[in-house]
Amino acid sequence: MKPAIFLTLIISLAFTKANAQNLEQTFDFANSLFENKKYESAVEAYRRILFFDQENLYSPLIYKNIAESLYETGKPEEAAYYYELAYFSTENDTIKTELTLKRISCFLILKQPQYAQVELFNLPETLDSETRNLVTFYEALVYFAQGEYAQSETAFKSIATDTLVIESLFNKNAKIDRLNPKTAKVLSIIMPGLGQFYAGDVKNGINSLVLSGGLFFLGIRSAINNSLLDATISVLPWFQRYYTGGFKKAEVIAEAKIKERRYKVYNELLDQFE
């Protein structure tokens, strides 16, 4: 009896058509998800196609959409990779420009302005005015991130509606360079806390002054009341630690202050374009 049942089952298998989703169906499904802006699900479906598409029939068609979906779901690193694949799988120059612009956007989000600059060189000479403005905006950001402020200012001014605001912001930016971390360090060597005050960090300035001053006073007191040897052994190591820590920290604080102020100016610049 048993062999007969198995035989029946196996023979019936041959007549049932395998009903798994094939690549074409997945492709249509992924595209419909993409069109309905369900990007996270679309990414999953596209990944399935990339995995099973051994003959490379569908992959060149989906690179752009998967990159777009990844970009929208906040994965710019992977998106940049697929934008590049999409770039090399198309012949259309307009699409190539569009893809390069997206790739630049990805690199800017990823804080990699040097890669964005390489992509900027990749763009064609002739562009329509809207794209040209976008490219100028990206150039301005790249120059600003790389510390080339004069070029950044020119670029920002050429697309801004109010150039006076841009100019005042860049004047504010130029003032940041007056703060020198080395000066802060030297000032703190002369007197603990002075470098921190110079950098504009009052809390750490007072902190360093009180700590080092207190230990200095303790050392002097110990030297008068006990002996110089006593003071050297008990207080000097502590004083040395907070004194050297203080002036090295002053340099670090000044560097951080420069970054903080630069970040503020940069965001005020961005406010002009939002």
Binding site: S105, L108, I109, K111, P113, E130, N133, L134, F137, L141, F144, A145, T161, N204, N207, S208, L211, S212, R241, Y242, T244, G245, G246, K248, K249, V252, I253, E255, A256, K257, I258, K259, E260, R261, R262, Y263, Y266, N267, L270, D271, F273, E274
Partner: protein, 142 residues
């Protein structure tokens, strides 16, 4: 009525402003530059369960904010001695944690690096009070 009209006009004005620069989507690039925030966050002092933990977290925060902040990294371990102290007290209680901290302070000299795993990123020796080892590193006396 007049108020509604004025409000409508003002709202539409703000809409117009956004339209002009929407092509740049500048908001995406706000964090391209480093914001220069070097203020550390002390998670070790959070989630206190009893008064002793609150008291020691306060001491820890005082030390971190007013003493350690004026100093460079001098401890040879990660977590540093003060962090080890607060974590030990939180995980093992005041008596055992306190003893563990005293023990740690005597070890904080970098004279026997071969006995510890090294954190390659921080270049510091690893010694965490929360770790439990299946085989004791130092055999217990019987």
């Amino acid at each position: 009525m007049r108020f509604t009209v004025i409000a409508f006009l003002l709202l539409s004005l703000s809409g117009l402003k956004n339209e002009a620069f929407s092509q740049y989507s500048a908001g995406k690039y706000r964090n391209m530059l480093d914001d220069g925030n070097i203020k550390p966050e002390f998670w070790q002092a959070k989630d206190n369960k009893n008064e002793i933990q609150v008291a020691f977290s306060g001491l820890f925060l005082f030390y971190k904010n007013f003493m350690s902040s004026q100093d460079l990294t001098v401890c040879t371990f990660t977590p540093s001695c003060s962090e080890y102290g607060i974590l030990a007290i939180k995980h093992h209680g005041l008596i055992k944690g306190g003893l563990m901290t005293f023990d740690r302070l005597t070890r904080c000299n970098g004279l026997s690096p071969q006995k510890y795993e090294i954190d390659t990123k921080l270049r510091l020796l690893k010694d965490d009070p929360r770790n439990t080892f299946q085989v004791p590193i130092v055999s217990s006396l019987k």
